[in-house]
Structure formats: structure tokens, C-alpha cells
């Protein structure tokens, strides 16, 4: 009998050399994370849907591979590590020594529209730092950069921002005051994220500056709280940049325009990697080499735990190993 070697859309088998390359990268990254004090957790590939109901947006729900098992329970294949880790740890947090440093590796499966460069099953590695630590953001971002540079990713460009950075500008725009521009603020935020200059120009001069340069004309334009956070973020960037001379670190608030915190800006949440809606503090994503999609990203997500009834500081990142290997270029293969 002849058997077809065809696989479903969006999945791939790694044979021989590509498998070896993936396992080697994975091993080196695991070593890096372990030596930085992060302990491995192994999470199941299947879970109930119910614990996530409150955390899912319409977009992230439609990405899940869901099914009913023989007992009539609704289950889903793992679509993201961070919420799974959060829901497992939130009830146990009181009994755990903090800060907690964890890392994970494994496949996630998401229903992505069929198109170039978007797999439905992909291999992620990531790290999470939970618990009070004033330099958590610095530590996690630094580890993220170490992972990228250790793996030889070329032309690393890390884009930094923070959730809610543009809320004041969006609400204070002509759209926010009902004068003109896109029909609603979520649409305006999406237009800023696409760097649509006309839409930004109609909304306000302050937003146009952010769309053009990634930064406001004057920090105060963002409002006092966000201006303070921008100053902190720029300091963090300036501290880390000299340690990674081969990488570019840019603060670009337009890139994360959809990460708003104000409910009036409630985003549709499009659930793309690095655009996951649970980030509520610093957000970052990295591009590298010729890869057109981010090789990884992360941020702060305290509110994810809060929605699960636990109060803890949480910062983490994840990397796509396929894209990271792609970003190394041919000379390394």
C-alpha cells in the first residue's frame, strides 16, 4: 500500500539536520536559563477550556483547537504557555517561595489563517519571573537579549514599549472628544499601530509624532504617569544597550498602540504572538535577520494573575525556536 506523506496545514515534521539544529539550540537555551537560576516546568498539552474563559478574547478563543472529550468536558490543545502557567500557579502562590524563576519549552498549537510564514504548531521556549523584585524587568529583558545573541541571531532589533502608553493621547485626541477621525478609539489605536499617518494627523498632533518617530514630541504629552514610565523605559534601554552592542534597542510606542489599559479603548485583541492582550506593563518584541515575523517577545502581565485571584508581579518572555534558527542565516548551518 502506498501511503501519502502529506501533513495537515500549518504543521511540519523536522527530519534529520533540522531536528538536530532545533535540539541543539534548545539545549543551549535551556543551559542559559538554568544557569540564570530558572527551573524548568513541564506543562500538559491538553487542558480544560473553562479556567481560561475569563482570560480569552474573541480572537484568542477562535485560535484555540477545542474539542469535547468522551466525558463531555470541553478541552483545548495548549495555545499559549503563559496563561496555563498562571492558572496553575495562582492557587498555589501563597505556599511558594518568591521570587520564582521558571522556564518552559514545548509546542503550542493555534489556529492561524493559512498563509506564508504562519505555522499552526510551533515550538516555544520562554521564561517567567514571578514575585517582588524591583529589577525584574531588567533581568528578564537582559536574559531575552542574551538568549537572542547567544543563538547568533543577526541584526537583532528589540522594540520596547509599555501597555497604556498612548491611552492619554488617544483619549485626548479629536476622536476621544468625539470630533472626528475613526469611528471609535479602538479603531484609532489600530490605525496608530499600523502607522497610518492620515488617521493620526486627523486625531492629534501628539499622535502623529508617535506614529512618525515612535516617541512623543514631549514626554508630558502622554500624561504625567505615562511620561514617568517612558523615562524609566528609556533609562532601562540606555542601561542595557551597551551590554549588547550587536543589537538595536528602540523605544517605539506606536508598535504597541493596541496594548491599552483604559476600558474605553477596549481592543479587539488580535491575539498575534507578541500582541497578546494580557500585557499590562513593559512590552517588547524582537525582530532578527531576514525573519519578517517577531522571533520572540514578552512583557509584564500582573493583571493576568489578578484576574485569577492572585496578587503577584509577573514578567516573562517567549522565543520561537523556528524563527530564531531562521534568523541565524545560512552561514551557521
Amino acid at each position: 500500500m502506498r501511503v501519502s506523506a502529506a501533513l495537515p496545514i500549518g504543521v511540519a515534521a523536522l527530519l534529520f539536520e533540522s531536528a538536530r539544529r532545533r535540539r541543539e539550540a534548545e539545549g543551549r537555551l535551556a543551559d542559559l536559563l538554568q544557569s540564570a537560576g530558572y527551573g524548568e516546568v513541564i506543562l500538559p498539552i491538553l487542558d480544560y477550556v473553562e479556567p481560561y474563559e475569563a482570560l480569552l478574547t474573541a480572537a484568542s478563543r477562535s485560535e484555540l483547537y477545542r474539542f469535547i472529550d468522551r466525558d463531555g468536558e470541553q478541552l483545548a490543545l495548549r495555545g499559549d504557555f503563559t496563561p496555563m502557567l498562571a492558572r496553575l500557579l495562582a492557587p498555589r502562590l501563597a505556599g511558594l517561595p518568591l521570587p520564582l524563576r521558571l522556564f518552559y519549552r514545548g509546542d503550542v498549537v493555534r489556529y492561524e489563517e493559512e498563509r506564508a510564514g504562519r505555522q499552526r504548531e510551533f515550538y516555544q521556549m520562554g521564561a517567567e519571573l514571578l514575585g517582588p523584585d524591583p529589577s525584574a524587568e531588567r533581568e528578564v529583558l537582559r536574559l531575552f537579549l542574551e538568549a537572542l545573541t547567544q543563538e547568533g541571531a543577526r541584526e537583532v532589533r528589540v522594540v520596547l514599549g509599555f501597555a497604556g502608553a498612548l491611552d492619554g493621547l488617544l483619549l485626548g485626541s479629536r476622536t476621544g472628544s468625539g470630533e472626528s477621525g475613526p469611528a471609535d478609539l479602538a479603531a484609532l489605536a489600530a490605525a496608530v499601530a499600523r502607522r497610518e499617518r492620515d488617521a493620526a494627523r486627523r486625531a492629534s498632533r501628539g499622535l502623529l509624532a508617535v506614529v512618525e518617530s515612535g516617541l512623543p514630541e514631549k514626554p508630558e504629552d502622554l500624561g504625567p504617569e505615562a511620561a514617568g514610565r517612558l523615562a524609566e523605559l528609556l533609562r532601562l534601554r540606555d542601561d542595557l544597550a551597551p551590554l549588547f552592542p550587536s543589537a538595536q534597542l528602540n523605544v517605539d510606542l506606536a508598535e504597541f498602540a493596541r496594548h491599552s489599559l483604559d476600558p474605553r479603548l477596549a481592543p479587539g485583541g488580535d491575539g498575534r504572538m507578541g500582541d497578546r492582550s494580557y500585557y499590562d506593563g513593559i512590552v517588547f518584541r524582537a525582530f532578527a535577520g531576514a525573519a519578517a515575523l517577531p522571533v520572540g517577545g514578552g512583557g509584564r502581565y500582573d493583571s493576568l494573575f489578578r484576574r485569577l485571584g492572585a496578587e503577584v508581579s509577573a514578567v516573562g518572555f517567549s522565543l520561537s525556536l523556528e524563527r530564531l534558527i531562521e534568523a541565524r542565516g545560512e552561514e551557521q548551518t
Binding site: R115, G117, R157, R194, R197, V211, N250, A292, P294
Partner: protein, 207 residues
């Protein structure tokens, strides 16, 4: 070297006029048959692509930026930056039929279009329903020959409609040629792209 994807057909003329006004692509006439052209003066390599393929090339990073119609862009729904919507050569996306009547509330019609995803989104907000028929050209024929009661298509001057006794019932959106940029390429070539975007915008205001 930075790669620019240009469409074929009508949007090519619009794109070339805009880039030339901005002082780019001076030495390229776009008329040849080569699929890839090097323009060393600008440090640009130009790819010549079909409208419908162009967003995919840019999203995948094969091309760093390009020009494509907003009609195609809203249909393929990729994650692209869209810094500029060119003012020249704008047209309309409209409902077309043989009478001025839109379907009554609760009605069910057949709707012919090149843009099934866009049509589905628009119809979802209407009090009537539609069975969407995807065609790849000559959409006007569908209401004319009663393949469908309605069509959703691009209208430029409206002359074809008049000549065929069809009516532009309702304009749904304005269609513009858009400058699209790959998200990663934007971070990589930010200074150069920003300069060109600025020049394109300035040239358009000056026209």
C-alpha cells in the same frame, strides 16, 4: 538594498507618479518585462507583482514595502503597516444593481463580488442577508444577467455602469492606493523609509 513591490495595471501608474513626484524611481519606466529591476541610484530593487499577491510578499518580508489598493488590503487582512494612503486615483467600493433599491430588511439576495471577505463583513452589519458569489472579473455582468441581484465592486468614473444601465446604489468605502510596509522592515530601515514616506506625503500635498 531595500525591496519595493509594485503592482501591475492601474495602481502602477498611480504608484509611479507618486514616487517620481517624491524624487524616487526616476530612472525606471516600469514598462519592461523584467520581474526584478535594480535601481542603484535609490538603493532599491523593484519587484513587479500582481495586486493580489503583493500583500503576501510584503507581509512575508520578501519585499520590504509596496503599493497596493485598499480594496485588496482589506480583503487579505494581513499584519502590515499602512503609513500613507495616496490621494491620487481614488475610487469607490460600491453596491451596484439594476435599480436604486437596496434589499428590504429581512430580505435575502445574491451578491456578486471579487471581495467575499469584505462583503461578508459589510453584510453582517445590514438588516438583510446575502449569499455571496465570488467572481474574478466583469462583476457588472452579474446583476445585468441576473446571476446576482447586487454586486459589490470598484467604481472609478461610473461610465461602465451608465453604459450598461446599472446604478451605483451606495458607496461603502473610498479605495486608495496604499503604501504598505513590513513590520520588521520598518524597524530595520526606519530612517530611510521615514524619509521616503515624508517625501511621498509632501509631494502629494504639493500636487
Amino acid at each position: 538594498m531595500i525591496r519595493l513591490a509594485l503592482p501591475k495595471g492601474r495602481n502602477l501608474e498611480i504608484a509611479l507618479a507618486a514616487f517620481r513626484a517624491a524624487g524616487l524611481l526616476q530612472g525606471w519606466d516600469g514598462a519592461g518585462r523584467s520581474l526584478i529591476s535594480q535601481l542603484p541610484d535609490d538603493g532599491i530593487e523593484v519587484l513587479s507583482l500582481k495586486d493580489w499577491d503583493l500583500p503576501l510578499y510584503v507581509e512575508h518580508g520578501v519585499a520590504d514595502f509596496g503599493i497596493v489598493g485598499s480594496d485588496v488590503l482589506s480583503e487579505v487582512d494581513g499584519d502590515l503597516l499602512v503609513p500613507v494612503r495616496l490621494k491620487a486615483g481614488r475610487s469607490r467600493l460600491s453596491f451596484i444593481g439594476s435599480s436604486h433599491q437596496m434589499p428590504p430588511p429581512g430580505g435575502q439576495v445574491r451578491l456578486a463580488t471579487k471581495y467575499p471577505a469584505t462583503a461578508r463583513r459589510i453584510v453582517a452589519g445590514r438588516p438583510w442577508g446575502a449569499e455571496i458569489v465570488k467572481l474574478s472579473g466583469s462583476i457588472e455582468l452579474a446583476p445585468l444577467l441576473s446571476l446576482a441581484e447586487l454586486a459589490l465592486d470598484i467604481v472609478q468614473t461610473g461610465r461602465t455602469l451608465v453604459e450598461n444601465n446599472l446604478v451605483e446604489i451606495e458607496t461603502v468605502a473610498e479605495v486608495a492606493a496604499c503604501l504598505v510596509v513590513n513590520r520588521a522592515s520598518y524597524q530595520r530601515h526606519r530612517a530611510r523609509l521615514n524619509e521616503w514616506i515624508g517625501r511621498l506625503e509632501a509631494a502629494e500635498v504639493a500636487v
